[in-house]
């Protein structure tokens, strides 16, 4: 659907550049100086707990929320001045399904294309292409109410691509879907990414981020607290492995003391001790023998996320 972008050139214009973005709703500061840079062909994931400011950031880029302060450029053009211009080349999959229930599947694409002033002849062909690509072709005359959750999400994706966007914004694109439906969408998104589509993704699913994103930014309380390649960032900030010890307080405290000489990160959560291992540590191997209950596994993005944003429930 898109030709691959030439890569490697430093002079290449950023698709999205956000500097010191702030937003205050009444007393509540949602964004406190967020910076984002997105290069052509990249898939940038914003990861953060509920209320971290991910969706607000997206809504600011779309002009649905007015920023309190900060600079935003899309395709090198400053917002909000060039908002309309810029939106001709943006496709959005919103978190909340807002397909048009008054229209059929195919009509949803045709009518949406009209908002971008795309010529009718071109649209028909593109709509059919997209319906095939997202395995919806035999449901094209169906009304929206009769579609499954997965089909609706796929239609939202098809709709987001109807204007051949240079930037695809995905706000939790697989939220609430079963594993099969999610896999199909991931596969299609990977396909698009390989063809060079630039994407801005928000998600709670670490697997989704690890699979799709080329860069991840972890956001908490309206600020970015970590950024990097999903695989690298875990290794650099946490380590390669994680060990979970459980046992009596005494024993865990003893272990903590023992580990002070080691190059490891240790975190106590109630009756558990999480140890993130960067390099080998003889004390640790020794200690393991004393604990019958040890889980040892590779460190993941989820571990990093929980380490950085805490294990407590967030309800803002």
């Amino acid at each position: 659907m898109k030709s691959p972008n030439p890569t490697g050139a430093d002079t290449q214009e950023l698709v999205l550049e956000i500097k010191r973005l702030r937003k205050t709703f009444g007393q509540r500061q949602v964004l406190k100086g967020l910076d984002i840079r997105l290069r052509p062909g990249q898939c940038l994931a914003l990861l953060g707990p509920n209320g971290a400011g991910k969706t607000t950031t997206i809504r600011i880029v779309l002009g649905l929320v007015i920023a309190t302060d900060g600079e935003i450029k899309v395709f090198g053009k400053p917002l909000p001045r060039f908002l309309r211009d810029v939106k001709y080349d943006i496709g959005v999959v919103p978190q909340m399904d807002n397909l048009d229930p008054d229209l059929s599947v195919l009509e949803n694409l045709l009518v949406y294309a009209s908002y971008f002033r795309i010529k009718r002849k071109v649209v028909r062909e593109r709509a059919h292409e997209l319906l095939s690509f997202f395995a919806l072709h035999n449901r094209r005359d169906e009304i929206i109410q009769n579609l499954s959750g997965g089909q609706r999400r796929r239609l939202l994706l098809a709709r987001a691509l109807i204007n051949k966007p240079k930037l695809l914004i995905l706000d939790e694109p697989t939220i609430g879907l079963d594993p099969q439906a999610r896999l199909l969408i991931w596969e299609r998104l990977e396909h698009l990414r390989k063809k060079g589509t630039t994407m801005l993704l928000t998600s709670h699913y670490m697997e989704e981020v690890a699979r799709l994103a080329t860069t991840v930014i972890i956001i908490d309380h309206g600020k970015s607290i970590a950024r990097g390649r999903p695989d690298k960032i875990v290794k650099e900030m946490l380590g390669t492995e994680i060990m979970e010890f459980s046992g009596s307080m005494e024993k865990l405290e003893g272990l903590e003391d023992l580990l002070k000489t080691c190059d490891v990160l240790a975190e106590r959560v109630d009756d558990r001790l999480f140890v993130y291992v960067k390099n080998g540590c003889p004390e640790l191997d020794y200690a393991t023998r004393d604990f019958p209950m040890v889980v040892k596994r590779p460190a993941t993005l989820e571990d990093l996320f929980l380490k950085l944003t805490g294990r407590k429930l967030r309800e803002t």
Binding site: L62, K87, N98, L99, D102, Y115
Partner: protein, 247 residues
């Protein structure tokens, strides 16, 4: 703007029957009950039989109802439960264009009802003059007034029940006191001036004037009043919808 209008038109075509009957039923029933029923025991007003007297006003009222209901219940559904407005605003369409598209659509829907009323009047023995054609732009401007008023309500509504205020405090009083069913000329002065100023009264007067080709100098003032209301209501509606949709 046109795209928003066209989206609504497309949906309307799908349910054209239900929509037309829903909007036309009421004014026709009034015409029958009041015109034929009550009219037989009412003397002539301003040289017209009672049926002739109320028919042009009911044309105006059908435009008001059509436009006002579309811009409240219709637009509010698109704004709230369906998320249609938000989906549209993710595209290059601006809030102003969205508001204008909705207002023009509401006006169109009102006008469709008004025109159907107008062309069926001969069936009731009311023969319109050639001036009736001049009424069409007036009815469209009236449609803009009431769909903009409806959109103002939509922009501040928190649920559907909110529109009860609009219906009982604005639409129904206008329907009853805008000179459709009785001549405003008979009323004492300060009140009469106020009633003449109401947007529907001007249209009712214009409608009667054009239907029977009895042109007079009041037309200018009435047209001015209709323009004033249509422009100011539109400006307010755009402002309030923007405040509602952009945080």
């Amino acid at each position: 703007m046109y795209q928003v209008w066209h989206r609504n038109f497309r949906v309307w075509l799908k349910h054209i029957q239900a929509s037309l009957i829903g909007n036309l039923g009421q004014p026709f029933l009034f015409l029958l009950a009041m015109g034929y029923g009550l009219g037989r025991s009412v003397p002539e007003i301003e040289g017209l039989t009672y049926l002739q007297f109320i028919a042009p006003g009911l044309v105006a009222s059908s435009v008001m109802y059509g436009a006002a209901f579309e811009a409240t219940y219709g637009s509010y559904t698109r704004l709230s439960t369906q998320g249609t407005f938000e989906a549209i605003l993710m595209t290059p369409i601006s809030v102003q264009e969205l508001a204008m598209g909705e207002i023009l659509w509401g006006a169109t829907k009102g006008l469709i009802g008004g025109i159907i009323m107008l062309v069926t009047l001969p069936l009731f023995g009311v023969t319109p003059s050639i001036w009736s054609a001049a009424l069409i732009p007036v009815l469209f401007a009236e449609g803009i007034i009431f769909s903009a008023l409806g959109l103002i309500m939509t922009a501040v509504a928190t649920n559907y029940d909110f529109f009860n205020y609009f219906t009982s405090l604005v639409i129904t009083p206008l329907f009853l006191f805008s000179g459709i069913f009785f001549s405003l000329k008979a009323i004492g002065d300060p009140l009469r001036q106020f009633l003449y100023f109401l947007p529907l009264s001007s249209v009712v007067e214009l409608s009667r004037t054009f239907c029977y080709g009895r042109l007079d100098w009041n037309i200018g003032l009435e047209l001015l009043n209709v323009s004033f209301f249509s422009i100011s209501c539109t400006v307010i509606a755009i402002f309030l919808l923007k405040r509602r949709l952009i945080q």
